[in-house]
């Protein structure tokens, strides 16, 4: 790979002689020095506001901010003017629920989402349905952790306004057939929002090829800073979308009687944006492009295959999600005997291994699986087989102490 672990300052640091074994990239990724530098240089060298100043450093800030937008757009196969910078995936989805949803979803209309969704692609729709007295339906999953597409066929009616679905499940690791879902939904005139939080950092995403209408993702899961995320809206839709937040930076002309708004996406970025964050995200895109997403996919598939093989050798293990590594991303959730996942995580933490334990913001999914919590290991470019060996070693130790 055209990078080294030394690119990540946090991995250079040793605690009690041990390197951090970070297996929680589905929550947030570690940051390479280059991204930290990009953020740092904005604050040190040209920390002016964007689109306002007539002086050199403000022009530079505006240029870099817009350059980041263009980079992000190219990265996901979008047009620059279709990209809105937001805080994170959650904000992007809420923004669609309020701006598009409130204007287009009415009484007795239908919204379809799935049982495997993260709360961020679940609760905003539940709330919209409550506000509008609309109906909400949930797609179920198979025992192998795949969406039941035949069920979707039956749920899609002419009253269906939206299908909101994750590209990749943050618990099961399932890669959902979003292209197919878009085809099916569009046939009845429904739009599709794809939650790409777990997809954009890990595979080649092309919003045009997927054929969706809205696509949301976060910067911090793809080596970028926290507090910066992206909402992509298809150009034809973007034109007619009413802004949700009003204020500075998003207006055309303001008079006491009325205000006209700037064009999309500026109309959706009221107030001073997270300039450093956007620039950092731009740097993260460049960094990932240098490595190449194909390399990322190959690396993660190798790790996922190895992890599934090694986990399945353990007595008392139960792994959730697709059995085949080719059908999943680098996210592996599991339980070990009757050990509570929080206790597993605490024991692993004792050896400097960071995993996630709990419901991972997917309570309905865990209820569907009949459990309260799972332990989750998730990977990125900086993980290697040695990390997985350490994980297995830790799990064996946990069994020894607790079983």
């Amino acid at each position: 790979m055209p990078f080294t672990l030394n690119d990540f300052p946090i991995l250079r640091k040793k605690t009690a002689g041990k390197r951090l074994i970070y297996l929680d990239s589905a929550a947030t990724s570690l940051k390479p020095q280059k991204i930290i530098d990009a953020v740092d240089s904005y604050y040190r060298e040209y920390s002016a506001n964007v689109h306002r100043g007539i002086y050199e450093i403000s022009e530079r800030a505006s240029r870099e901010y817009e350059k980041a937008r263009a980079k992000v757009a190219r990265f996901v196969g979008a047009k620059t003017q279709e990209i809105v910078f937001v805080r994170n995936t959650t904000e992007a989805i809420n923004l669609v629920a309020y701006s598009w949803g409130d204007a287009n979803v009415g009484k007795a209309d239908r919204i379809i989402t799935s049982i495997m969704e993260h709360h961020s692609n679940f609760v905003p729709w539940q709330e919209l349905a409550l506000r509008k007295k609309a109906e909400i339906k949930y797609l179920d999953i198979t025992d192998d952790g795949q969406l039941k597409l035949d069920q979707l066929d039956k749920l899609l009616t002419s009253k269906t306004k939206l299908v909101a679905i994750s590209h990749i499940s943050n618990v099961l690791g399932t890669i959902n057939p979003v292209e197919k879902i878009c085809n099916m939904a569009h046939k009845v005139g429904a739009l599709v929002l794809v939650d790409g939080a777990q997809a954009v950092p890990h595979r080649c995403v092309d919003v045009k090829r997927i054929g969706c209408d809205f696509y949301a993702f976060s910067g911090h899961k793809m080596l970028g800073p926290t507090g910066i995320g992206v909402l992509w809206v298809k150009e034809e839709l973007a034109k007619n979308l009413k802004p949700h937040f009003f204020g500075g930076g998003m207006i055309g002309e303001v008079s006491i009687q009325r205000t006209s708004f700037d064009d999309f996406p500026r109309s959706f970025e009221a107030g001073t944006p997270h300039i450093a964050g956007a620039i950092g995200l731009g740097a993260a895109v460049s960094y990932l492009e240098e490595i190449g997403l194909r390399t990322v996919v190959r690396h993660e598939q190798m790790l996922t295959k190895y992890t599934l093989e090694e986990l399945n050798k353990l007595k008392g293990i139960k792994v959730y999600g697709p059995a085949s590594f080719t059908e999943r991303s680098g996210i592996v959730s599991f339980t070990l005997d009757e050990i509570h996942p929080h206790d597993l995580a605490t024991i692993l933490d004792g050896d400097g291994i960071a995993i996630r334990a709990g419901h991972h913001c997917c309570m309905p999914l865990h209820k569907r699986l009949g459990i309260n919590a799972t332990a989750r290991a998730s990977f990125y470019i900086y993980n290697n087989k040695e990390d997985i060996d350490k994980l297995i070693e830790g799990l064996n130790k946990a069994r020894k102490i607790l079983v």
Binding site: H340, T346, A357, H359
Partner: protein, 119 residues
């Protein structure tokens, strides 16, 4: 560092007072959405004295062991006023090991339930 010392493991494996109390005068249940732990405590009080206490529910080692240890302490104290004065620090003393911030909620869950029951 292994926080799972003898006291915790023993109280988790063989919890004391894990039972239903017959005709309880006070009871409460609290759910910890973070880990899915749910603990219910039932108490029987007769003239300012706790004559019986039991807990039920599932969860992690820390919350289960803490419930076992706490209910034993309640049995020792008996007097309602004194039980009401039980502090968070006392719970950690009973557990006998340092609990990291993220797991403190697990250790304190039983105390939270007990306080709610006695309100």
């Amino acid at each position: 560092m292994n926080i799972y010392g003898e006291i915790l493991i023993e109280n988790w494996r063989n919890p004391k007072n894990y039972k239903k109390v017959s005709k309880p005068t006070h009871s409460a249940e609290v759910y910890n959405p973070l880990c899915g732990d749910k603990i219910k405590i039932e108490v029987k009080i007769r003239s300012d004295e706790i004559v019986d206490i039991g807990f039920r529910g599932g969860g992690c080692i820390i919350s289960q062991a803490a419930a076992s240890l706490l209910t034993q302490e309640v049995r020792k104290l008996k007097n309602v006023k004194r039980v009401k004065n039980l502090t968070e620090r006392k719970v950690f003393e009973l557990i006998g090991t340092e609990i990291r911030t993220a797991r403190r909620k697990c250790a304190l869950l039983p105390l939270e339930v007990l306080r709610k029951a006695l309100k």
